[in-house]
Amino acid sequence: MKELRLMKGNEAISEAAIRDGCDGYFGYPITPQSEILEYLMAERPYEKTGMIVLQAESEVASINMVYGGAACGKKVFTSSSSPGISLMQEGLSYMAGAELPAVIVNVVRGGPGLGTIQPSQADYFQSVKGGGHGDYKLITLAPASVQEMYDFVGLGFEIAFRYRNPVLILSDGAIGQMMEKVYLTEQKTRLTNEEIREKYPWATLGKVPGKHRNIITSLELESAKQEKVNIRIQAKYREVEKNEVRYEEILTEDAEYIFVAYGTSSRICQKSIELGRAKGMKIGLFRPITLYPFPSERINELAGKCKGMLSVEMSAGQMVEDVKLAVEGKTKVAHFGRLGGIIPSPVEVINAIEEKLMGGK
């Protein structure tokens, strides 16, 4: 039988990393995700698996430590919350440019600026539209439960190494702080340097005599060559879009109206569906699990079969833009959100879909 624990979302991230055979964590404290670093420091994985845990001097340093570790072919990750993730954007752009795999966890809080420490989903644009400079993408996973916080660490590393690109776990303060049941996986062993050389021949582990040296860089001063690099990276993103789209549907089969929501909002919407269905409303939920690549194709199909879609987000309306692009005008699309760290209540969401799509109560 699988080991079962009641854990906070943040703790689940840390435990998952240890058990996945992660080589290192580098991070800087910020609410509401400091438990990730605290848990790792308390667990002392360096004594059990050899995993390194280091409190860096800033998020800027953290992401660059991740850059250095990833460039050695190591499984490394960092975590932060919104303002800290903003500080990491330079490093993330470099990592995408240098094609380095890593997992980054954003336990989102309300912004802009120092904002609030309460949960928010206002970092959607930053996550899926680039965030830093240049043409690149972060593969973005959006967990909606503590179990998914746990599962997406291993999945994140798998995808990151498959495409040599950073993977972002876009969570929020509610999922980070809440406790739910988690089924834990077996302890994996960390790769040896020899195994890394074998699996990832690009890793900088020291030049093997007689072989070509490895260079990790995002620099190409000749534009013609830089364009080729970019075209190759873009081709990789097309592969990601083909292979990695993930989503979940709840009661969309007969739904006349569909909520589109991820993470905490999707949980609220599930309650709204319970309440609405009890009143005879035919409503369902489409939950994108990957925000990039966005499940546009499936949303487009559903749009042809329903009377309207409501994008429910704890933001002023960010994902709704991608929903509209996906729908291509086939159905009515509206947005409902609360801002600044307020979580909408299930009743508010029901009221919103009635008002915005069903022509009032």
Partner: protein
């Protein structure tokens, strides 16, 4: 069975740990659970609350606007959560420090004067377990053997010597809880 509970009081009253013990006991009985705390500066000396859901089915939202049960340990929480109890639901409170008592006519109202009792028996540390006992008397949604396992899982090993004391406090709570208003 789905039980949606809010536990609310001051930081330091053991609100979050009571919720955790309840949730962990639910896990031990193979139920679905969620534990969603209020977090942040308001915890430091201010009000603290936690939403605990225990269910036989997959839990939808861990954040709620109405509750089956509200366990209330201070006045601010009474003012905030009394109106959010579902009609026919349960309000359980400790009368210590309560100046405005509940007024709703459509809910069951019970008191468990755990603060007085824990002071009387000189065990302020198990105050929250007395409250929990009161709740379990009224809604025995989890068996005592699973509460025992929940205590084992929730408390760090070095505190396991205190489990019998906690269980006695739960029993005490079951004894002293009493009804103020019972609706049909």
């Amino acid at each position: 069975m789905t039980e949606e509970i809010i536990i609310a009081g001051f930081g330091g009253q053991g609100v979050l740990s009571m919720g955790k013990i309840l949730a962990y006991s639910g896990v031990m009985e193979d139920k679905e659970v969620s534990w969603m705390p209020s977090y942040g500066p308001e915890m430091r000396g201010g009000t603290a609350n936690v939403t605990v859901i225990i269910s036989d089915e997959r839990i939808s939202s861990p954040i709620l606007s109405t509750y089956d049960t509200a366990i209330i340990l201070n006045q601010q929480s009474m003012d905030k959560f009394e109106p959010m109890i579902k009609s026919g639901g349960l309000l359980l409170y400790d009368g210590n420090g309560i100046t405005r008592h509940p007024v709703r006519k459509d809910i069951n109202i019970f008191r468990v004067d755990a603060a007085d009792e824990s002071a009387r028996i000189g065990l302020s540390k198990v105050f929250n377990m007395i409250v929990l006992g009161g709740f379990l008397k009224l809604k025995p949604i989890i068996g005592p053997e699973f509460i025992h396992k929940g205590l084992e899982k929730s408390l760090p090993k070095r505190h396991h010597g205190m489990i019998p004391e906690n269980e006695r406090a739960i029993e005490k709570g079951k004894e002293i809880v009493y009804a103020l208003q019972e609706i049909a």
